[in-house]
């Protein structure tokens, strides 16, 4: 525990690094808005923790690790003890490295890579990780034993991670798992769609990111994949709701968060604050919100002593937007509930609707390391 009561203590310097420009700027924006809302909530609108000021600096990583490292070094050089943020897994890895080298606290943002969990003692995460996505997908087929699951993914760290996740989660429960990995730069998905049909699976899990999703879904639809087996994928941010076109109604979605998913009081609080700020609740709003809560907790209990902050966070269980969340002590995994969702067509196009909340323990990753 900490003993920070000094109203006269120097403000705690906190560095927020995330994409304000670059390819993932939209995610960065949601994260930022969520963080502001979370900070307001956790400090009761004061922006201070028990009288201790927080000196928050925002920096743009441009989606570029070089920039991020430079910014991080600059912040650390100026005495920053807490870093948080970034959507990009590659940047999160670099920042985790900096945190360890310089013995400061780092709370990564929406970056989903499993590798960040347990990477070192200084690094925490405020979002979900790939494993939790995959495990949620697994909840769609009931008992996986003896079923055939095909993972359709891009051949990237993200896609490979998803395949590995499915193999671990569903394969471990007796499912036969097959991967159809497509080169990231491929633009033609029709033959692969046909390959999916030919495989005669019981479940198809799609892990896709980026602009080519539209063409991919069209190809699946054209080749009749939806008639062959149920298809599960992760529901992304608001901008992607319309990307599935005619396929939308046929897809089962796993989801980390969408506006209205949780139905908790804290969610209300967040949405109110977001709307006041002119933002909408989105996939990564909660990551920002949780990051703010974790920082406030760390400062409240640990002042500006990094080891004390780490102690304050390890094993901490708290109420947040998605309900009860735990920072697992062993590897800093963030144990949290997930959602099953479907898209329904309304006046403004397709919008998500909750099917079921998946229990945090059901999708908890095994301890890393």
């Amino acid at each position: 525990g900490g003993d920070a009561d000094g109203a006269d203590a120097a403000p705690v310097a906190i560095g927020m690094i995330t994409s304000q420009t670059g390819p993932l700027a939209a995610y960065g924006e949601a994260y930022t808005a969520g963080f502001e809302a979370g900070l307001d909530y956790a400090t009761d609108g004061t922006g201070e923790v028990d009288g201790q000021e927080l000196d928050i600096t925002w920096e743009d990583d441009q989606g570029n690790p070089d920039t991020a490292v430079a910014k991080a070094k600059d912040l650390i050089g100026q005495g920053t003890k807490v870093l948080a943020g970034t959507v990009v897994s590659g940047i999160a890895t670099s920042l985790a490295e900096q945190a360890e080298q310089n013995e400061i606290l780092y709370i990564s943002g929406p970056a989903a890579a499993d590798a960040i969990t347990g990477v070192n003692g200084y690094t925490f995460r405020s979002g979900r990780q790939t494993y939790q996505d995959v495990a949620t997908a697994g909840t769609f087929i009931g008992d996986p034993d003896g079923k055939k699951v095909v993972v359709f993914a891009q051949d990237t760290a993200f896609g490979q991670g998803n395949l590995a996740g499915v193999e671990a989660v569903l394969g471990g429960q007796g499912a036969e798992v097959q991967g159809v990995l497509v080169a990231e730069d491929a633009t033609e998905f029709t033959p692969f769609a046909q390959q999916l049909v030919d495989a005669q699976p019981d479940l198809i899990f799609v892990a896709w990111a980026g602009a080519s999703s539209g063409a991919m879904w069209t190809a699946l639809q054209q080749q009749g994949v939806f008639d062959a087996a149920p298809v599960v994928t992760g529901l992304g941010d608001v901008a992607t709701y319309q990307a599935y076109g005619d396929a939308s109604a046929d897809i089962s979605f796993l989801n980390h968060y969408f506006g209205g998913a949780a139905g908790t009081d804290i969610e209300e609080e967040m949405i109110t604050r977001l709307e006041e700020a002119g933002a909408v609740p989105d996939l990564f709003s909660v990551d920002g919100f949780v990051a703010a809560q974790m920082i406030v907790q760390a400062v409240r209990e640990g002042g500006d002593d990094v080891d004390a902050m780490i102690d304050a966070l390890e094993g901490w269980t708290f109420e947040s937007v998605k309900g009860e969340i735990t920072v697992r002590a062993e590897d800093h995994a963030l144990i949290q509930p997930m959602y099953q969702v479907k898209l329904v067509e309304g006046a403004d196009g397709w919008a998500p609707e909750l099917i079921e909340t998946v229990d945090a323990e059901t999708v908890a990753p095994p301890v890393a390391g």
């Binding site: 993932l24 633009t187 033609e188 033959p191 602009a211 539209g214 069209t218 054209q222």
Partner: protein, 291 residues
Amino acid sequence: MDTLILLVVTGLGLGALYFLVASGLSLIYGLMGVLNFAHGAFLTIAAFLGWEAGRRISDGTWTGLAISALVGILVGATVAVLTEVLIIRRLYERHIEQALVTVGISLAAVALFEGIWGTDPIYTDRPAWLTQTTDLLGARIPNDRFLLIACAVLVLGGIVLFLKRTRYGLIIRAGVENRHMVTALGIDVRRSFTLVFAIGGAAAGLGGVLASVYYGYVSAHLGSVLLIFAFIVTVIGGLGSLTGAAIASVLVAVLQQFANFYLGGTGDLVVVVLLAAVLLIRPRGLMGKAA
């Protein structure tokens, strides 16, 4: 069997797209003697404005698509002409600088498009028929591939006729080699150059609109993705050779499909290896003329 057909026909469709981009590139290379890195930007702006126009007037219909295509062609041509007149022309006969300037334009243009239209892809609507499939020997071929192939054939035929049947073909080839001497034969070479730039830009514009049909979206990076392959196709086909580019487009795209499907997604690697191999065996490309 149906997989084979699917791979070949979709490969042809993709090849058609490559060719639509490469045709303008090849033409402008034949004219400027440099690779035009701004070609991707011509394509992207045409796709954006074509989409803006199409959706305002009649979204998701054939009329809308026709309007998009028309606007795209006009925009592509206009932007190309502006680039030529305002920038390229000032650097005439300085090929490296010309190429460099187009690098600058492409960097600036992508950033500008991101500023205007954002970084996320904008998903587009198209006529229903294009999203459906046609059964061909057991393979369900997406219909838009047929549209692409038809357009590519038309463009190839049109440009070849233009170069063969008009004097411009001669003027351009001669002008690349020795601009001064062409003017000394009493020919206003600048006007021919601008015209050809316009044609190249128009082809890129059409390519842009069709690319947005193929991918189902428009984005600031639409052009950059295609440009790399258009370069490769242009070089494999032989710099400045239009038929070479057409053959290489098909070769590259079909090979890419097969490698992606059967060789563990190595399509891009295989294409790169093909490029290196072709250049090492035939430095001038498949149909290139002697330097």
